[in-house]
């Protein structure tokens, strides 16, 4: 990661945000008919939809676990979500994000209530301007709630990062490209349990402390937006 653009000027970022500001957010619950639960989430120009199917029987049967269900995630970029069209089909990056997303979401679902079953979470990124895995998880989390899956809380995700040696919250595309550190996390906003954590870039423990602090704050704001959308659906359905 290099720094050839001026990303920070008088404490303001290229899009006018302050250091601790998230991009504007939008959330919607229950957007699809066929899925058991579904959700949409947008942060700035990054947006994703998620659909949840299940709990349902897991095939092939030899993969079933007798004492608990499993949660499986598929993360995908639509071909038109990026600058240069992405070839359809699984990518190495997508496989990895699918796996860490399973780790992030499994801990909040009462999987022991669904022995032998699977809960399938499909996330599609519609447009990608940094933070795609966080936005996709935010959509997935409300889709799980929409599906009525028994959950211990909501997962809320956002990234902190470092640009021009300064920790900031929620990188957008140019900041991610020319920034120094990218630190996406996902968190149960009520308990403070961080269930996804990845980091690229060079840093130290003090900076990590600062960036994690920012990210935790960000997740709490994301959680508000998610709850608001869920509440709206709940009210609408009354």
């Amino acid at each position: 990661m290099s720094e050839n653009k001026e990303l920070l000027k008088n404490g303001k970022r290229i899009d006018g945000r302050g250091i601790e500001d998230l991009r504007d957010m939008e959330a919607e619950v229950g957007i699809f008919k066929r899925a058991d639960g579904s959700g949409y989430f947008r942060m700035g120009n990054t947006e994703a939809v998620a659909a949840v199917f299940g709990p349902r029987e897991l095939h092939p049967k030899h993969r079933q676990k007798p004492k608990r269900g499993i949660l499986q995630c598929r993360y995908n970029l639509t071909p038109f979500s990026v600058e240069d069209r992405k070839r359809p089909g699984p990518s190495r990056r997508g496989k990895e994000i699918g796996k860490v997303s399973e780790g992030a979401l499994s801990s909040i679902v009462f999987l022991e209530e669904f022995p032998t079953a699977t809960i399938d979470v499909y996330m599609e990124v519609i447009s990608a301007d940094a933070g795609t895995r966080c936005v996709a998880l935010n959509a997935a989390s409300i889709a799980l709630a929409d599906a009525g899956v028994p959950m211990k809380g909501l997962i809320s995700a956002c990234a902190a990062g470092k640009i021009e040696d300064t920790p900031v919250l929620d990188l957008k595309g140019e900041e991610d490209k020319d920034g120094q550190v990218d630190l996406p996390i996902a968190m149960n906003a009520e308990t403070g349990d961080i269930t996804l954590l990845q980091m690229d870039g060079m840093t130290d423990i003090d900076e990590m402390d600062e960036m994690l602090g920012l990210a935790v704050k960000g997740c709490k704001k994301v959680a508000e937006k998610q709850r608001e959308a869920l509440m709206k659906t709940f009210e609408d359905s009354k």
Partner: protein
Amino acid sequence: MMDITEIEEQAALDKIKSGKRLDGRGLKEFRDIKIETGVAKKAEGSAKVTLGDSKVIVGVKFGVGHPFPDTPDEGILMVNAELGPMASPNFESGPPGKDATELSRVIDRGLRECEALPLEDLCIEEGEKVWKIMVDIHVLDHDGNLMDASALGAIKALKEAYMPGYEDEKVLRDQEQEFKIRKVPIACTVGKIDDKYIIDPDLVEEEIVDGMVTVTWTEEELCSLQKRGNGGFKKDELLKIFELAKEKTTELRKIIE
């Protein structure tokens, strides 16, 4: 004993035989259609079509590539469709199956046969570099008649699309050049049940029709046909179906333009 699906199918069938439909529509009526554009911010053109409860998003991307050897001075059109596991509990992950392949190829032929796109104008360097127009159909929610929804989405996304600039071997997406399509092919799927014809079959109806024909019209000409499903049609029935489709695509054309 009948399961829930069968009961629903039987109900839909009875209703159609009496000249009505489960959701209150007339036999020759489309479901509500909503078309939004600019929905995929990184695409040069995009459209999301909501047709009843079916949802399809189409994105158009431009790229630069080698021309085909037999058309060294023409741009390339590629149409791809994904029926991913998100859209239906019955779909699986994996490369496009027969349904997705048929979907993309019917849309492709609709655009190609009427020469909707000015492919001859999309040559950068003869035999070496031409523009590729990549139309990706992504099905989000499948409640039937993906053909008509996808055809609408594809032509709408193409109408909205701009062409990026190209300099020094680089695609410049912040430069927007005009890109004009020449024809507007529109698809209409007609299903047959006994002696009744229905327009825009939903998922349950797709299961109970004797057969379907997807008919693609430009303003004046028939440019693609695809009989689908298992049943058969007499020649005279087909001619009536083409007429009906012409009438309905004329209606849809107003929404698009």
